[in-house]
Amino acid sequence: MAHVSVTTTTTLSATHPLAARELAHACGAGIEWVVQLVEVGIVSVPSRALPPDDWHFQSADLQQALAARRLERDFGVDLDAAALILDLQHELRRAKALLRSHGIEPGR
């Protein structure tokens, strides 16, 4: 059994973000797909005036992009619909978290 010690790990954060091409590669897509994600608001960038090669992304963006990729593939939705589904999903999770913060367990 091969054993590899990985001492160099990077936690995605503001100081160690992903470039647009890295985000695309992580999702098995091209940079033009990331541009579409930004256009529909699935991920956001500080300024769209900057070229995509200067965009940077963090963990939440990667999570969003991977979720959008799966929605595209599994349900055949376009990115506008994926954006709406992800917004609704976040709102649902936020509402459930709010209930829990008041000691109420959302109904299962």
């Binding site: 059994m1 091969a2 054993h3 590899v4 010690s5 990985v6 001492t7 160099t8 790990t9 990077t10 936690t11 995605l12 954060s13 503001a14 160690h16 590669h25 992580a26 999702c27 098995g28 897509a29 963990s59 939440a60 990667l62 999570q63 992009a65 991977l66 990729r69 799966r70 595209e72 593939r73 599994d74 349900f75 999903q89 649902l92 999770r93 978290a97 829990r100 913060s101 008041h102 000691g103 109904g107 299962r108």
Partner: protein, 323 residues
């Protein structure tokens, strides 16, 4: 590792059409999606459903899976422990990527050990046979750690299984174990990137990366919401009524002094700023007060309750019920 019957997972017949597979998947995904499902094991079921669909909706993967299932059936115990024989998928080509199947590395995020051992590496071999240059694909996996490990850092071992080409050019089953240092201060949903631990590159290009999504195991004392932590804090009726300074444990270890305000009600939420997960801004630790009644299990305690009842005879906790 159990052999999984993907047809059973999706509830379709062996000869089901692509359309039947897709419809079955979508129906089950709506039933078991963890955000909307009322089923207790929704998350686990959803992972199996995703996995089954990823195989049965792909013509070549499905043909390879069917061959394997037949081989296992002939060998005896498909329901028991199962090791895929090296070379079981000879003769099949696995294609990746859009536009036909849209199978990207994103697919791998929720694969079980069974799935990745059968399909992940066979795709790697398929890619290696093609004559082109490209950086290796990135891999995704989730790693569940304890709250304490997230706050204080830890070292964890991760086993990745797959079929790789051996020195004799023949495929063989290999397990690769990675020792990974989890940095202190990671929070749920954050990704740890392990450079060049993904798929090997093609034509001399570098390997892809491995992304580990951090998940925190449920904790007996703390509940996690984003970067914030919540804890139920029991207080006595006198502490709640009169106010008190009490000692409270914090997740990083040790205790802090907390001032409970007078006339505190049950469920009151107090905040210890910056005592949650690290970040910009850092999360907070919220304490939900829960008034715990001392038991009336001695003459002195019963007498104290009687005195309290006499002193608060005008207090009616059921006034809002009209009684």
């Amino acid at each position: 590792m159990d052999f999984k019957d993907y047809y059973k997972v999706l509830g379709v017949e062996r000869g089901a059409s692509d359309d039947e597979v897709r419809k079955a998947y979508r129906r089950l995904a709506r039933k078991y999606h963890p955000d909307v499902s009322k089923e207790a094991d929704a998350e686990h079921r959803m992972r199996d459903i995703n996995e089954a669909k990823d195989v049965l909706a792909d013509k070549e993967r499905r043909a390879a899976y069917d061959t394997l299932a037949d081989r296992v059936a002939r060998g005896g115990s498909p329901g028991g422990d199962f090791q895929p024989p090296p070379g079981w998928d000879e003769g099949f080509e696995f294609h990746r990527g859009p536009p036909t199947g849209a199978h990207g590395p994103a697919d791998q995020a929720e694969f079980s050990e069974f799935f990745s051992s059968l399909f992940g590496a066979s795709e790697r071999r398929s890619a290696a046979r093609q004559n082109y240059r490209a950086r290796g694909e990135d891999h995704h996996a989730a790693i569940e750690i304890t709250l304490e490990e997230a706050l204080q850092g830890a070292e964890r071992e991760i086993s990745l299984r797959g079929i790789e080409t051996g020195p004799d050019g023949q495929p063989e089953l290999k397990t690769r174990t990675l020792s990974v240092k989890i940095p202190a201060g990671v929070h749920p949903g954050q990704y740890i990137r392990l450079a060049k631990q993904g798929m090997p590159g093609h034509g001399g290009e570098p390997a892809g990366d491995l992304y580990l999504e951090v998940r925190i195991a449920p904790h007996a004392r703390y509940r996690i919401e984003g970067r914030d932590l919540y804890m139920t804090l029991p207080v006595t009726p006198s502490e709640a009524a009169l106010g008190a300074s009490i000692e409270v444990p914090v997740p990083t270890g040790g205790t802090v002094e907390l001032g409970v305000p007078a006339k505190a009600r049950n469920g009151l939420k107090l905040r210890l700023k910056g005592r949650g997960f690290a970040g910009t801004p850092p999360g907070d630790l919220y304490l939900l007060l829960e008034i715990a009644l001392p038991p009336a299990d001695s003459d002195a305690a019963r007498q104290a309750y009687e005195q309290l009842a006499a002193a608060s005879s005008g207090f009616n906790p059921r006034r809002h019920l009209g009684v």
